[in-house]
Amino acid sequence: MRVGVVTFPGSLDDQDARRAIQVAGGEPVALWHGDHDLKAVDAVVLPGGFSYGDYLRAGAIARFSPVMTEVIAAAEGGLPVLGICNGFQVLCESHLLPGALVRNDHRKFVCRDQGLRIERTDTAWTSGYTAAQEVTIVLKNGEGGYVADELTLDRLEGEGRVVARYLDVNPNGSLRDIAGISNERGNVVGLMPHPEHAVEALTGSGTDGLPFFTSVLTEVVGG
């Protein structure tokens, strides 16, 4: 089971995502932003970081890299794709997911151990959670406020596409406390918190993030 992790210039959590895939029992495969090749992986992670410095808008420039052409095509064909933080921003900028992520309402970068409720467990990336499971996962972002128009938000809710919601504290002003969403099919998931920083007890916020990576392994092997 090969999971690709894309490195854009300015990606930071790519090595951590690869480690998380390994901890989950998968084989991480490094993908390069300039390549037109997904190396026959079974799933792709777009990691966190500041691609192109997050200058302009987070994810806006990365979206035009050659590898994204491939990722977009493959995602439309059903390949599981997880965008974490900057990766989520890239997915929105690429229109694989609706809405956008804007500057935190308090205007500061925030790093905290964040409570979440997993709202949808039938995606490629969350099948390992139980419905409405409450977890703690590291959150760290400067532009993490999820926004979309009311119509889109209602549709996301109606179709059960809100994957995770913030608990207790809304850390960035996200509308309806949205921490993550998926596309209709459930293969593409975007998430602000960082499950790759929650796979080992010793580092990060615990092990609550691991099911993101084990889910996709069973998904692909099973399906």
Binding site: P9, L12, D16, G49, K108, F109, C111, R112, T203
Partner: protein, 752 residues
Amino acid sequence: MSLDTVKQAGETPEQSQPWAELGLKPDEYAQFHEILGRRPTSSELAMYSVMWSEHCSYKSSKVHLKQFGEKVTDEMRKPLLVGIGENAGVVDIGQGYAVTFKVESHNHPSYVEPYQGAATGVGGIVRDILSMGARPVAVMDPLRFGPADAADTQRVLPGVVAGIGGYGNCLGLPNIGGEVVFDPTYAGNPLVNALCVGVMRHEQIHLAKATGAGNQVILYGAKTGGDGIGGVSVLASETFEDAGPAKRPSVQVGDPFMEKLLIECTLEIFAEGIVSGIQDLGGAGLSCATSELASAGDGGMHVWLDRVPLRDSSLSPEEILMSESQERMMAVVEPAHVERFLEICAKWDVDATVIGEVTDTGRLRIEWHGELIVDVPPGTVAHEGPTYHRPFARPAWQDALQADVAEVLPRPQTGDELRATVLRLAASSNLCDKSWVTDQYDRYVQGNTVLAQPEDAGIVRVDDETGLGIAVSTDCNGRFAKLDPYAGAQLALAESYRNVAVTGARPLAVTDCLNFGSPEDPAVMWQFAEATTALADGCQRLGLPITGGNVSLYNQTGEQAILPTPVVGVLGVLDDVARRTPQGFREAGQQIYLLGTTREELSGSEWAHVVHSHLGGRPPAVDLDVERQLADILVNASRDGLIDAAHDLSDGGLAQALVESSLRYGVGCRVWLPDDLDPFVALFSESAGRAVVVVPRSEEVRFTDMCAARRFPHQRIGVVDGAAIDVQELFSLPLDELRTAWSATLPALFGP
């Protein structure tokens, strides 16, 4: 102005030059004539003036700093792979790994433009570490500001914090600790110190030297612009008189994205083993890099300065030599490897240009469009700057200051008064919750952070397989240093050392950032002399080498110098980070022990500062042998699994330590204070050499036996329990109430 060439300098000995405007003394200018046998060209003058400045030449401080290299023992030399004097020293941490770390100041720029000043401070220290061959793995930021409620602090602090976060987060370096201290003396003169730590394999150590005639000199990274050359623009102006306000900015804007690419690109180059020497470009830019590389190597370099890629084509050669544009590096590469070097740079979208060549002439020669504009012995630029023996004298006011002790001030007496004092101190700006600051920093990136703020030291894992890791802490109590600079510097060292040891790490090496007022004031110079002597003596006592550091002078507003602030960073090693000792109480029923001796030491304390706005008396006594014994106990207890938590006692004394350990996981304690002490003294004295530890019942006998065998003072003072700090017979303070007070302070001042 026409180009000032070497030839022209020889022919026009009488031409007047703006040496005074560049901050040079008449004898220094005369010395250039002696060295060169003619007047310097304007480019040479630019190089000498910047390299012989206080910042680059350490001219006021080096007579004192040299103790760091002299007071060394074999024990201190043992872990040293590279000593002081390189970009940063390197120590062996075992298993084939080496670590380099260093702290630097960016005080003045951060006052002028808080965000960019602080950001570029982080950028500079990271390149220093990178240039040793190491992958940077963490940063820390010791900060000092004026009063928290002062208007200017509202401008400076949020900008500085955002700048450190903005740069460090974007580089992907976890921020694992630092300090936030407020004192009126820092108003108008904030201290922004930045520490970086890096890791490499032994065989990857790189040095800044240009050897091998014919090897190519490559400048890579950002293009050169007119940054940070304010004063030198005078050289490029038509006449010195009409220079007017410098058109060139003295503040630089950082590009962390560029730096991230520079890091990855440089590490890939190191991995292929294709550089023979490397140097970062920091203060004094190309002047520094070329002269230092050349003088450390075979002694010669030829540079074609017009090849330097520019952001601003109007720059003069003098300005190019002085520019402090950020995110640049210089490498010396064998001709056979140049192509591959450029290829790797291209992969990372990093501009790289061959601008020079190593020679065996013993001269640094710089050409500008075919004309020779610099021809100097590089060592004279890099290392032969002046040495000042500045007068220093213990100030007359020191006696009066020390006589004005805090021990006589009115104290809280009743349980209620003590309770109110605990609460008031916990909410005071120096002791309150710092997460308003630290939550703006990514502490998790790279996935190796084992401990970070608010723990006593930050810990990062170095090796996934073996669990090898390092711990770092930085500390300094400037009030103690003001009361007694010698004792104060050793107290800073002791606190930092203790903070590393409480996490279970074995202290290994020291770095420092010496922030002081004007060296032209004999009182300040005395503080500096005392502090450096104290650190050299102290490190010898503790058996730790000083591997590097930084001096920042002229930190004062008018006549008012800052508190002497020798920030000390200590690095420690853990063979297995799984054994680390965290700070918080967690499991009810575990026993709380106080290690060390509490004396009536309240002068310079946080209590005197907050409650009485008082500073006077003598700081707590410091005994480094006691610190060594305490560290030994803490490290062994951690290794043998005898303790589950530990927290050192410093600012705010026992009371504040209990507050912090209780709030960490929301688990409180029941405490009985020793009968033989005034409860107020027991709670608020800031005696050094102490820590609280939490011992599981099952390990109590082994632990107390260990302390007894070493004759180290230890007493059981309580038990982990409940949701309050309950001091028997005196007061009970619910954690909810405490947390509200402790965490409200900074958001109330700086916004939600």
